[in-house]
Symmetry: C2
Subunit: 238 residues, 2 copies
């Protein structure tokens, strides 16, 4: 099991695709080269094109006597610097990083200051007025166990839209607003829609959020924010 | 005249090239679209593929009554966020940003801490031991007016290798070592070779730097550092 950090702006997402640079694909290639085995890498879940990870969790099943420290060094030396294995440990063969995940935390970074060409991949700039306290109050409506169908892109194969959000923290750090959302699992684009809704709370209003949680109407809530502000921060297991 | 910031990792350098994404090419396209004129952008000098700019200076000759503030806004809205015009002012038609430049300052950022996938485009990591004081002392040998042939890539069309360096500042900020070099002009790869030489001062020794400044022997000094730690910070005019 390993914790993986990557700059999603350089990849066509996590999931392997023919002829495209993906995180899973690149990790499999490098592990296969280093161990001289055919390696399959399994992630805790996909991230979309442009979405970053601070702490994606993945497993790879290898038959090797290389000490983990050396394996990590060899893999990181062969990986290009925009994806890195931060830590590694041995887990039992039946551990599945997707099904065993208990909590996930996502971070979303919104820039309200001057645009910066060096931060373009890492921050979504937002030029409208935002009210931190209003957002924090509205966020409380989303915490708990709800049907989040209204906060899910239509483009999904899921049929059970019930998820539990444990916390939504919103704080201002310098000129950035940082959202951190922890839950037992997230629907397709759910974090990006929640952030888009909270940023526009003035226009949308708390009543529409309550209604959307009841009737699942996607049209009641905010737009999907772009991927470049989004980070999979942490995946927790029992 | 404008000050331009860009993430060089996303461009094939400053200079226009057919079919490749370059900073000059992209600025010309956007200015031409916004002003509906055929715009030529002239820079203070080229930067190579992967090299960033905090303060590149360039001019564009346009016949327009759009207020500068609005022009800047329109251009930045059309540019992708990894290149931005930071400021604009009107200069006389005979101002040439290349020939009029009096001083240039480059920054080079070397990382000595843990590698970070989000910093990979912006820092060159260096894993060997470095001695800040030894580097600062050796740097003094380079300050002043010298023949810098030894600190220039063979791949150059220049025949006059005399340049003046006004200052070399080296400081540690967190886990990074930041070099700032100001001079009246720089040869091809000169900053990258100076940084490579200073980092390896233990192996190279001050005597070889003195000798290289006398005999111009490239083999006496250090290797060319990669582009991703290099920033054109500032171009100064009279």
């Amino acid at each position: 099991m390993m914790v993986v950090q990557y700059n999603g702006a350089h990849f066509f997402g996590w999931q392997k695709q023919n002829g495209k640079r993906t995180v899973q694909g690149e990790l499999e290639q490098v592990f296969s080269k280093v161990t001289k085995q055919n390696c399959e890498v399994v992630g805790s879940g996909r991230t979309d094109r442009g979405v970053h990870a601070i702490g994606q969790v993945a497993t790879v099943d290898i038959d090797s006597t290389i000490p983990l420290k050396n394996l990590k060094l060899a893999v990181n030396n062969m990986l290009s610097g925009d994806v890195l294995v931060k830590s590694m440990k041995v887990v039992s063969g039946d551990f599945n990083p997707r099904f065993a995940a208990k909590r996930k935390t996502y971070r979303y970074v919104v820039g309200t200051g001057k645009r910066d060409a060096f931060k373009d991949e890492f921050i979504t700039y937002y030029t409208y007025k935002v009210d931190l306290e209003k957002m924090q109050n509205a966020a409380k409506l989303l915490v708990g166990r709800h049907n989040f169908k209204a906060f899910c892109s239509a483009d999904t194969e899921v049929s059970d839209f019930v998820r539990e959000i444990y916390s939504i923290d919103i704080k201002k750090v310098g000129q950035n607003i940082i959202f951190e959302i922890t839950g037992n699992g997230f629907l397709y684009n759910m974090v990006r829609i929640i952030v888009g809704t909270l940023l526009q709370i003035d226009r949308i209003g708390e009543e529409n959020i309550k209604l959307a949680l009841e009737n699942g109407d996607r049209a009641l809530v905010g737009k999907t924010m772009p991927p470049n502000g989004l980070y999979l921060k942490k995946v927790e297991y029992k």
